[in-house]
Symmetry: C2
Subunit: 324 residues, 2 copies
């Protein structure tokens, strides 16, 4: 059994061996650039880990792992254009370093290369893997659209928000793990359990991100704390406050989230005070814990030796710190 | 055997039955919009026709036909952003009618839906179809990149230009027909012949487009005659002139193609006069005819009854009028 660090190392070696050194350079240099920026490589590592639940020979899952990593980075390229983001993981975004047309076209070709790596799977598995890949990819696009739609509507319900984050971030993790399980030889039923594990972990992970964006330790968080508030994002914290607050506080929050004040720190503090009044951090933590519990329940249902599950359980605990 | 009009009708019915009425509307309304604008539907019709070479039951090729039509329209969506084009087939382009972010994201989801229609093929065929689809899709992106690269370089050789148009426009037609042939039950070898037919027809078609853009009948051409000259495009006509002309005329042409004069009609006429001096229309026509001959040669090599080939031969002749 390989641990998280070993699986990550294995993936990084495979990634390095498969860099895009093809012509035309104008198309592929940005692909190497975004893939080299890094990140936790959470999706490919968890795909390999899902494979390892059923088969220790995880090398055969490497092409699919690279497929989901390329796909994920394609979405980052296009999302950064849409958000007009200057930085990604502290580095200049592709549309800023090159230009928007390059970011569009290099993104497009990445998506196709993701399918090309997927196509390296055994022919027997290909129909299922392609179905899962299409499903998760469509989910990501639909989630991104809902996210953009939510910016311009007055209210969003909590179920709508949860559906959006499920599509935008969690189906990619879930589908990646389902593919890993199938490559490892899992039955369709077991692969479904793994999918549900990934889906619930993914939602919990996004809820944690909402919490940390507002209440995180600035030294540890990596991004600027309070960014969601400054951008007037309708996160779980906001939506839950709107649900629980008095009419007056609801009005206050609505107003705060329509302004772009000169003093951003004051705005962050005012919104945070409202959150605290309604114990929103605890509410969000409760919700997050519930998704985490559901995830582990699906892991429990897998009829494989507990020793095989330990690494995945530890990784989920490492990625998500239980709240409350 | 169905003729071209019947195959087109069959495809249009299938397209109408498969319109994108899903949520979120913000994502899928632009998809319906671009798919409804129309066009000749050349790629899906020729995919069905390639299927029909081997099997009259062409209905089973409809999902793949829709896949290539969706893929083609995805490339139009993104190309129109990159070219900042206001109109497509006389209608407002998607990024103008909606916005650029919509055109990016709706284009992305179209590409995935293309793969989803492809995935409806029989599992036995899927590995081959996926390989062909990936190959043509990567070709289209690489061709688009070369096309953009050529805008900013001083000189392009004729082989480089031919490689670019092969990638940008002809591998899509060729791959579509190869998939149609395989779905119709063709052997790998016969499907390769069909690919080569499509590849050569596609290049001939693009050369015809270069000729018509400069020498076409304004009433019949559909686009503005002289558009390539106004945009200083390095077409086959330009590159062949640079190859054949005296140093002085080469210099003249270079200068003409670096200017954006107030009097565009005069510029078009001056360039056209240079082309005529070196009989460039005839040169381009000769090249086009050679590709067409090669295409028909590959069709001849197919060991199927001649009666099955007639419709495809007629369509190629209809699409491309032999020059000289």
């Amino acid at each position: 059994m390989k641990n998280t660090a070993e699986l990550r190392e294995l993936f990084l070696n495979y990634l390095a061996q498969n860099s895009f050194d093809d012509e035309p350079q104008g198309l592929y240099a940005p692909v190497n650039y975004i893939l080299d920026i890094g990140g936790k490589r959470m999706r490919p590592v968890m795909l390999l880990m899902a494979c390892q639940l059923f088969d220790e020979n995880v090398e055969k899952a490497l092409p699919a792992a690279l497929a989901v990593e390329i796909f994920h980075n394609f979405t980052l390229l296009h999302d950064d254009i849409m958000d007009d983001a200057p930085l990604r993981r502290g580095k200049t975004t592709v549309h800023e370093k090159y230009d928007t047309n390059t970011a569009i076209l290099s993104g497009d070709v990445m998506m196709i290369h993701a399918y090309q790596y997927l196509a390296k799977a055994s022919p027997q598995l290909l129909p299922d893997l392609l179905r899962i890949m299409n499903q998760l990819a469509i989910g990501v696009c639909e989630g991104q659209q809902y996210d953009m739609d939510f910016e311009t509507v007055e209210t969003v319900s909590i179920p709508e928000y949860l559906k959006m984050i499920e599509l935008k971030t969690s189906v990619l993790l879930a589908g990646s793990m389902q593919m890993g399980a199938l490559i490892g030889g899992a039955s369709a039923k077991d692969a479904e359990q793994v999918y549900e594990f990934g889906r619930n972990v993914g939602i919990a992970f996004q809820l944690q991100d909402d919490i940390l964006d507002t209440f995180g330790d600035p030294e540890k968080f990596g991004k600027r704390v309070g960014g969601d508030i400054v951008q007037n994002k309708k996160t779980f914290l906001v939506l839950k406050t709107l649900e629980l607050a008095t009419a007056e506080d609801r009005q206050n929050l609505h107003q705060l989230l329509q302004t772009a004040p000169a003093d951003e720190a004051a705005k962050i503090e005012q919104v945070r005070t409202l959150f605290k009044k309604y114990k929103i951090r605890q509410q969000a933590g409760k919700k997050m814990n519930a998704y985490l519990d559901t995830a582990f329940h699906h892991l429990d249902l897998l009829e494989i030796p507990e020793a095989r599950k330990v690494e995945l359980r530890n990784l989920a605990h490492y990625l998500i710190n239980r709240e409350v």
